[in-house]
């Protein structure tokens, strides 16, 4: 067996917000090329996991490793430089900037102008609706369009690992399908993704593996196929 270290390794990670223990000893690995789904209901600690990986919140215990290198001493900007792109909960597009400027800022750390232009075109072909609205202020886009912009902006960093926090939130079922289809395409083309979702059904339809969080602990993990069959999960998240 070849023992390539996982791209991302989370070991016994705990995060506290004051007296609230939001993550309690999380173990998680993401290997290159995988699409891993992180599931769980409100307040389970999903966003906290992503915020810890991108160093927005301090860890109170445990370790984080990127290809074997410790991530904990780094600042957020440095994790982006390493290749981690975090598309945050609630889209957070820059409302006062145009679609095009939002995308350009996604490539802030890159200096290969030609490559950035190629990726801009790639984003516009991935999300044609953004191409039509490239000169519009991002704040004037619909919720679905803002979600697409947020994903596209994260892709502009050409990340090794893409962290997505509930991309389906607030989208109509048709749009959920469209966004998930895009993520599946990215995955097929070799993109590594860690996908946080409450919509377990949609996420497990495209994921390789999944974990279910409850109150900051992993209560279930397995291949996407196994999880789709799991009766407990079906009862709590898949509506029967």
């Amino acid at each position: 067996m070849t023992a390539a270290p996982p791209l991302l390794q989370v070991q016994g990670l705990s995060v506290r917000y004051g007296s609230v223990l939001a993550l309690d000893g999380l173990d998680l690995e993401v290997h290159a090329g995988e699409l891993v789904a992180l599931l769980g209901s409100n307040g389970a600690g999903k966003s906290t996991t992503l915020r810890a990986i991108s160093r927005l919140v301090p860890a109170s215990a445990g370790g984080l490793f990127w290809g074997g290198r410790p991530l904990l001493p780094l600042r957020t900007e440095q994790t982006v430089k390493l290749g981690i792109s975090h598309c945050p909960e609630g889209r957070r597009v820059l409302a006062r900037q145009t679609v095009a400027v939002n995308l350009e800022l996604g490539a802030w750390l890159r200096h290969d102008r030609a490559g950035v232009n190629d990726d801009l075109e790639r984003c516009y072909s991935l999300f044609p609706r953004l191409a039509e609205r490239r000169r519009q202020l991002a704040g004037n886009l619909s919720g679905g369009e803002q979600q697409m912009l947020a994903i596209a902006r994260s892709l502009m960093a050409r990340p090794t690992l893409l962290l997505l926090d509930e991309p389906s939130l607030g989208l109509a079922p048709r749009l959920v399908e469209e966004v998930m289809g895009t993520l599946a395409d990215l995955h097929r083309n070799g993109q590594t993704l860690l996908l946080v979702e409450q919509n377990a059904e949609a996420a497990l339809a495209i994921a390789d593996r999944g974990l279910v969080l409850e109150a900051g602990r992993v209560v279930l993990r397995g291949s996407a196929a196994e999880l789709r069959q799991n009766s407990g999960l079906r009862a709590s998240y898949l509506g029967g």
């Binding site: 991108s54 927005l56 600042r75 957020t76 900007e77 982006v80 430089k81 792109s85 975090h86 945050p88 957070r92 820059l94 409302a95 006062r96 900037q97 400027v101 350009e104 800022l105 996604g106 802030w108 750390l109 902006r153 960093a157």
Partner: protein
């Protein structure tokens, strides 16, 4: 009674300086959501540095009595160096009065105290070094330019034209930089949503420092220009400007760049419209006018709804 043209010229040239000065407040406010109360002191520092730069000597009451630079620089060079000095000084203010609080996630109100304290210390240092007396920049600081031009019955001092020119150029460059350049857009991104900016890889601490440096530069330039056109009344002369700049900032709409410009012009014109024999009431008129506008438009002339900050 001044002609309308005279009032316009006087008002616009003073207003331009107010705008330049208020823009400095705006830059820091839009990035951090707090006001740097040391800004008026930096304005004073800019005036003194410009005075030294053009070869002025320290008066007899200061600790540095009699001291002067070995050479007299041309006014534009002295002004630029004074601006650069104030940029550095404001970086120091950021490191001492802002960064430690920011690290701890302190209440915005606390910055008011720490920055005010930094300003007071700076003014006191100036007083120790230069004494409490007033200074005037040498009359020939502008070289061979005639001191006064006449145009359609209005007396226009060449200093006023210089004020207008410098303010217009600086503001145009700053606006284009903010709107069009990579760095300017990154600064705006931090100002809109610092967390998201960091997730894009933008070093928001570096952007905060940049905004302080630019803000200090603007304070220093406006201080040097006012020193030339009026004179330096003493170490405390930045205080009135500091308050007026705040008024302009609020009037224009907190954090709005075109608002600072408009606010500066409005206050400048309001003052210039006060007849010469009532000139002691200038400040009162300016603030009364400000008060009246804010009653009608509490968010300022070009203000926008508040957004979340760092």
């Amino acid at each position: 009674m001044d002609t309308l043209l005279q009032i316009l010229v006087n008002g616009i040239s003073v207003g331009a300086v107010y705008a330049l000065f208020a823009l400095g407040y705006t830059l820091v406010f839009s990035v951090l959501g707090v006001i740097n109360f040391a800004h008026g002191a930096l304005f004073t520092l800019g005036a003194y540095l410009t005075y030294l730069g053009v070869g002025g000597a320290v008066g007899s009451n200061g600790a540095l009595a009699g001291w002067a630079l070995p050479l007299a620089l041309p006014f534009p060079v002295a002004l630029l160096l004074a601006g650069a000095g104030c940029a550095l000084a404001n970086l120091l203010v950021e490191a001492i009065a802002f960064r430690p609080l920011r690290r701890r996630g302190a209440e915005p109100l606390l910055y008011l105290i720490t920055s005010l304290g930094a300003g007071v210390v700076l003014v006191n240092l100036l007083q120790i070094a230069f004494g409490a007396e007033g200074y005037a920049l040498p009359a020939d600081a502008l070289g061979d330019l005639p001191p006064v031009l006449s145009l359609a019955g209005a007396r226009i001092r060449s200093v006023q034209l210089l004020l207008l020119l410098v303010c217009a150029v600086v503001m145009a460059v700053l606006t284009v930089w903010l709107e069009r350049s990579r760095g300017g857009r990154a600064l705006q991104a931090v100002s809109e949503d610092a967390v998201t900016a960091r997730l894009l890889g933008i070093d928001s601490d570096a952007m905060v420092r940049l905004s302080f440096a630019l803000s200090g530069l603007l304070a220093g330039l406006s201080g040097g220009l006012v020193g030339l056109s009026v004179s330096i009344a003493g170490p405390y002369f930045g205080i009135v400007y500091g308050l007026k700049g705040l008024g302009v900032l609020v009037l224009g709409g907190l954090g709005s760049v075109p608002g600072a410009l408009l606010g500066g012009l409005v206050v400048g014109l309001a003052e210039a419209a006060v007849p010469g024999d009532l000139s002691g009431l200038k400040d009162a008129v300016a603030f009364a006018f400000l008060f009246a506008i804010l009653l009608l438009r509490p968010q300022g002339l070009l203000g926008r709804p508040p957004i979340s900050k760092v």
